[in-house]
Symmetry: C2
């Protein structure tokens, strides 16, 4: 680990001639991230069902932890005491944490409560003010306050290499008026996050701070937010609120509207994206990293990714292992996949495990999906090196 | 794989001078088992949460599959079609299946049913006759019949290297009369199992047939059963019904009463035993192999094994990772353990995973327990080679 040095560095290695895609390298105290890179989510300091060894086999380069969950359990002080998030979970590579904002709003938005008359009513469990947000834990109902200063302090204790400014991610749908109000609050919080990031350091390595662009589905707000955030002294730029919309077109627009204002020399992270076609879309729109729970969440449901010999835009490169048609199928999940699961198990066997609700089912499917997605992004990096990203995309999406 | 040959072979390599323990080697078409050997249980063609790779790392030599479960799902014809149990689950080493009897009796014994008057009543879901047993599936209530002939045919299709005669395991407590009746039925079924085993072969390798000694907690019955079963032309001898009793003393007695009648030149399997002190006890009583669900079942509850620096007869060599005292514990689960989990994770981290009910919790604890138990038995084999089994036992049990 590099100490007493500027650990964080961003270098562009190559730009694609036909798209906005780029090859770059992010250097952190815990190692290097070659981009474009997929960032698996390890919400509670674990990528569900998988070990660091599995993630290394999938050539994962960086993990995403959720500040909201880690604050509630085991608590940032415990994680700090164990040497930070990476060491706590025995992942000796780079990590990134979010600000906690997204979960506060999505998990705490509305709660059902019984009135004195015994009727069920909705109460707002989240109270948003310019100062910050009070919310109740989804676990035990306890009351908590997140402000930019608190979020940054928690993230400093968690000790990820990349951390995010505190933001408000407005729900979908939201009016133009409300989205504007949330965006303006996000901008004020960006300034306070920047200031707070300079106050205290709990770990001996640099933690690079990313600002977050919001603005919902409104072009003028996305542009205004991109301009504002891009001008500030952040180490990187994240685009938020694109996974809460209803259509993929909205996600693409949010990136395209922001793009003209993004600084060339800072890494760009897209929050919450990761289906197969999305991956091509966000890379060719100039994003460097992007995180998603899909490989493990789909895996737990028996939804697994398949290569273009079977997969296409229509089936979204997925098959459902629960289906009876796989009961006697002696093929691996995905024909050309080199992962441990595809090299050792049949669809028939994994189908049986899902039917029997065996723990191994969730693990094997998650492992395959994790390997599959990271391998796809690795192939995309190679295609950018070889100047054939366009053809590679065509061979997948047609 | 050896084809068209007598695949099964049993050789005694060494006998302990002070106890009945012995070192031996069982050869099967799928490989060799060095005994004494622990046999992990993979009920539904999976050792819960663990891959064949994990089991290889734990130096597991043979797996135990449950005929009752595999018959109900995915069905013996599916397993046969996939090349037998070992190949189906990508475990390319020896396997053993039970007769299905134990599960039929323990899972199907009594069911609750609503009477026409709306009252809850117990009904016997198992109907035992000399011909065989009719029972209802615990999954969907469907009616099934197991006879010695059917059990052997299913096991032949499953294709394990070692298979068991169909037996009746009387529940505990049972009267002397009923235990005698069940034992006599078991003896008749032993003869029918032997005959049935010669009828049909679905796989090209030899499947060695073990007879089962029953007789409950009654000395005269255990002796009678041991005499009867030992005289028959079985390839190996199993002792059943020792895990259903209430005390460990009963388990030891059942072995000791049977022992004088056991043929020297056949392998001996003890059904359903595997706590740390039991392992020493059954090995020094001359058992060669013994199966148990404990490593993974305990693992899923957060109960993990610890070496004698912490473990003893009083705490049964276990700690409970759920306990708050482990929240900040930076030690590995077991100080001297060389397993992947102990080499990479703290008790504090695994405690967090159990509190958060994360899939990885069950996996890591199961992995450690599996490694721990197999490593212990490996050490016992070494102590028998080195003529210091007694000292080794003392260093564990005092």
């Amino acid at each position: 680990m590099i100490k007493n040095a500027k650990d964080f560095k961003f270098e562009i290695l190559k730009k694609d001639k036909k798209t906005k895609a780029r090859l770059s390298r992010i250097t952190t105290a815990h190692g290097i991230i070659e981009t474009p890179a997929f960032v698996p989510v390890g919400t509670k300091a674990t990528v569900k069902g998988l070990t660091p060894q599995d993630l290394n086999e999938a050539e994962v380069q960086i993990l995403f932890g959720n500040t909201y969950h880690l604050h509630l359990r085991p608590g940032e002080d415990v994680v700090k005491d164990f040497g930070g998030l990476a060491k706590f979970m025995s992942w000796n590579k780079p990590t990134i944490t979010d600000s906690g904002g997204f979960q506060v709003f999505s998990l705490g938005q509305l709660k059902l409560k019984l009135t004195q008359e015994g009727e069920c009513t909705e109460v707002k469990a989240v109270n948003i003010k310019d100062e910050g947000v009070t919310f109740r834990s989804h676990m035990d109902g306890s009351k908590h306050l997140f402000t930019p200063e608190i979020s940054i302090d928690i993230q400093k204790k968690l000790g990820a290499d990349l951390i995010l400014a505190f933001d408000e991610c407005a729900p979908h749908p939201s009016t133009h008026d409300y989205t504007k109000e949330a965006m303006e609050r996000t901008h004020k919080w960006a300034l306070r996050s920047l200031k707070a990031s300079k106050i205290k350091q709990y770990h001996p390595w640099q933690q690079a701070l990313y600002g977050i662009i919001q603005g919902g589905i409104y072009k003028n707000l996305r542009e205004e937010s991109a301009k504002f955030i891009s001008k500030l002294d952040f180490d990187g730029i994240a685009i938020g609120g694109v996974s809460v919309g209803e259509s993929k077109a909205e996600m693409r627009q949010a990136i395209d509207w922001s793009y003209p204002f993004l600084p060339e020399d800072k890494p760009r992270h897209l929050l919450g994206i990761g289906e197969i076609d999305d991956i091509f879309d966000v890379i060719e729109r100039g994003m460097d990293t992007f995180d998603c729970v899909i490989p493990t969440r789909f895996g737990r449901y028996g939804i697994v990714f398949v290569d273009p010999s079977v997969g296409n835009l229509e089936n979204r490169f997925r098959i459902d292992l629960n289906k009876t048609i796989f009961a006697k199928d002696k093929n691996p999940i995905s024909k050309d996949c080199k992962c441990y699961v595809c090299q050792n198990f049949t669809r028939g066997y994994t189908h049986h495990l899902f039917r029997a609700q065996e723990l191994l089912a969730y693990r094997l499917a998650s492992y395959h999906n994790m390997f599959f997605v990271n391998n796809l992004v690795k192939q995309i990096r190679q295609s950018l090196r070889d100047d054939n990203f366009g053809e590679m995309k065509k061979s997948w999406l047609g």
